[in-house]
Amino acid sequence: MVPTDLRYTKDHEWVRVEGDEATVGITEYAAGQLGDIVFVELPDGGRTLEQFATFGVVESVKAVSDLFAPVSGEVLATNDALTGSPELVNADPYAGGWMIRIRLAKPEEVDDLLDAAAYDALIAAG
């Protein structure tokens, strides 16, 4: 079972909403599928993202995949620790491996995202 306090996208990003801020990362399932992550490319702070637009790239030894913003808003912070330790995404996907924090421009977008049960069903279906 994935953490129940988070919301999810079909593209395997997770979102933790606290007030008008959202923290974003990729799920344990996604990190496992990608394999050893060697590089994470994140946007500059201050950039404004549209929901489901590409905000960065995650690179493992076998693939390079786009990262999609689960919600619209301004990038408040990025996880600088990933520059030197991208393996945090594999080791600690829901905490130390977070990627960006966004100020929610449209809080109602969160309602469109999957809850834990729906995301569990998605990955169970493969």
């Binding site: 690179e59 076998k62 693939a63 786009d66």
Partner: protein
């Protein structure tokens, strides 16, 4: 007999599986005018006749000329070891195996190529390899756009015209190339106009991703590279240096003057001038841009038993994996020619390469003096290495008449820059270590004859002129030694 592997029956079954009626439907996305039309080929010939015909065509090439042509491709002496080693079966393919680590020798050769070129460039990362200098320059400009997330690149008009055309062709879909003018007169004539560059960079509505300049530039002149780089960096743009590799043995390398990316034509490193290619595109960058550089990167590591091993690294951004989001839509390389460059550079060694570059510079200085002695001066006053433009009235006509006298007098600049009035009466000439004093003398004398209206040697020997120098030269040139030149 058809050489294609598929029978008509195979094709029919594939079409049925795809649910389409004809192979043409597979090409529906390509606009009709861009598709190849049926080839209009002559009837097949027996091998004997074909060989005779090809030899006849080859014989039409002039290989007897004293050549002063450079303009991006340079004649050098290639040690015999280079071509002999290239012929070995282990090397004689341009392809990297699809399971690359099984071919450690191929990977080691690429690793050595990257190491040697990185040392020449004084940059961290070299990718192996690209089609030619033009393609490498265009890739460098695209790298600058990806790295800065900006869409406008400034290219000096003193960068090779073909490289600028290729960059224009690669750009599209929102990316923009703008040209930096060249100083028209004064001591900096023929180099990038720094004041114009500053103005172009100041347009904050259209931030610049990268600034591209050549060293030496297309006219053979030395550019103020450090200053161009400083101006680019001041507005957050990257600096791309387009360089000639042999010159790096004596000139400051791109890493020393702050270039983020360097591109260049690898042909001078042991590859014959072979009618437009195949050549070798050099591309190098700082470590910060390692994820933007397209092409093969090979690293050295140790295997499970602790033995030295070579691995293909950063593969994940290439087209076979990342498709339309790949760093480049070109996914091939010039491994054999990269190997030629590696063998050439390591055969000569650092001292040998320095000798090649400085001998070329000395020959060019000799050429400048010989031409000045017959009244033909340089077009631009600034410093050069081994190539420079000369001012010649009716340049194209003179160029043609010099061919009749056995001299290939470089390039008529009007052929590549027809719209630039300052280049109407100019020839771009170069010398390298293979240029001889005899050839220089022959060029100067023939040019003197043509410009003073004297007929070709042998028609009216020394007649009709009061110039004792010309009479003496004409007499000398009809001696057996002169005729043999």
């Amino acid at each position: 007999m058809p050489y294609g592997p598929h029978t008509a029956d195979d094709r029919e079954r594939m079409l049925v599986a795809l649910g389409i009626d004809s192979v043409d439907e597979l090409f529906a996305d390509i606009p009709a005018p861009l598709r190849a039309s049926p080839l209009d080929l002559p009837e097949p010939q027996p091998e004997l006749e074909l060989a005779a015909r090809l030899e006849g065509l080859a014989a039409r090439n002039r290989t007897d000329l004293a050549s002063f042509l450079g303009a991006g491709v340079y004649r050098h002496w290639t040690p015999a070891a280079v071509d002999q080693l290239l012929l070995r079966g282990e090397w004689y393919t341009a392809y990297t195996p699809y399971q690359p680590e099984i071919s450690q020798g191929t990977l080691q050769s690429i690793y050595e190529y990257e190491s040697l070129i990185a040392e020449l460039m004084d940059l961290d990362v070299v990718s192996a390899s690209h089609y030619d200098g033009a393609a490498a320059t265009a890739e460098a400009a695209l790298m600058a756009c990806r790295a800065t997330r900006r869409e406008r690149v400034l290219v000096s008009r003193a960068v090779h015209p073909h490289y600028r055309q290729t960059t224009q062709a690669y750009f599209g879909g929102g990316l923009e190339v703008e040209e930096i003018p060249v100083v028209a007169d004064g001591p900096e004539a023929g180099t990038t106009d720094l004041a114009a560059l500053e103005r172009l960079l100041a347009d904050s509505d259209r931030p610049v991703a990268g600034v591209v300049a050549g060293q030496p530039n297309f006219f053979g002149l030395l550019e103020p590279m450090a200053e161009i780089g400083r101006l680019a960096h001041a507005v957050g743009a990257l600096f791309v240096a387009v360089v000639e590799p042999v010159s790096l043995a004596v000139l400051a390398p791109p890493g020393a003057y702050g270039a983020d990316i360097a591109a260049g034509e690898g042909q001078p490193l042991g590859i014959a001038p072979q009618y437009g290619g195949p050549y070798l595109g050099l591309l190098a960058s700082t470590d910060a841009l390692v994820r933007q550089i397209p092409g093969r990167l090979v690293g050295m590591t140790t295997d499970l038993d602790g033995k030295r091993a070579f691995v293909m690294t950063m593969r994940a951004r290439e087209q076979d994996i990342r498709r339309d989001k790949a760093a480049s839509n070109i996914c091939t390389n010039q491994a054999l020619l990269a190997l030629a460059a590696s063998i050439y550079v390591s055969t000569l060694g650092p001292h040998g390469l320095r000798d090649v570059a400085s001998l070329g510079a000395a020959r060019a200085a000799e050429l400048e003096a010989a031409l000045a002695a017959v009244g033909v001066g340089r077009l631009h006053p600034g410093p050069y290495l081994n190539e420079f433009a000369i001012r010649v009235p009716r340049a194209r006509n003179v160029h043609r008449r010099l061919l009749d006298r056995g001299v290939l007098a470089g390039l008529a600049l009007a052929d590549v820059e027809p719209d630039d009035p300052t280049l109407k009466e100019a020839l771009l000439v170069c010398a390298t270590e293979v240029t001889t004093s005899d050839e220089i003398e022959q060029f100067a004398a023939a040019l003197d004859d043509i410009l003073s209206g004297r007929p070709p040697i042998g028609t009216e020997v020394g007649a009709g002129t009061d110039d004792p120098r010309a009479r003496e030269r004409a007499a000398r040139s009809t001696t057996p030694t002169g005729a043999a030149r």
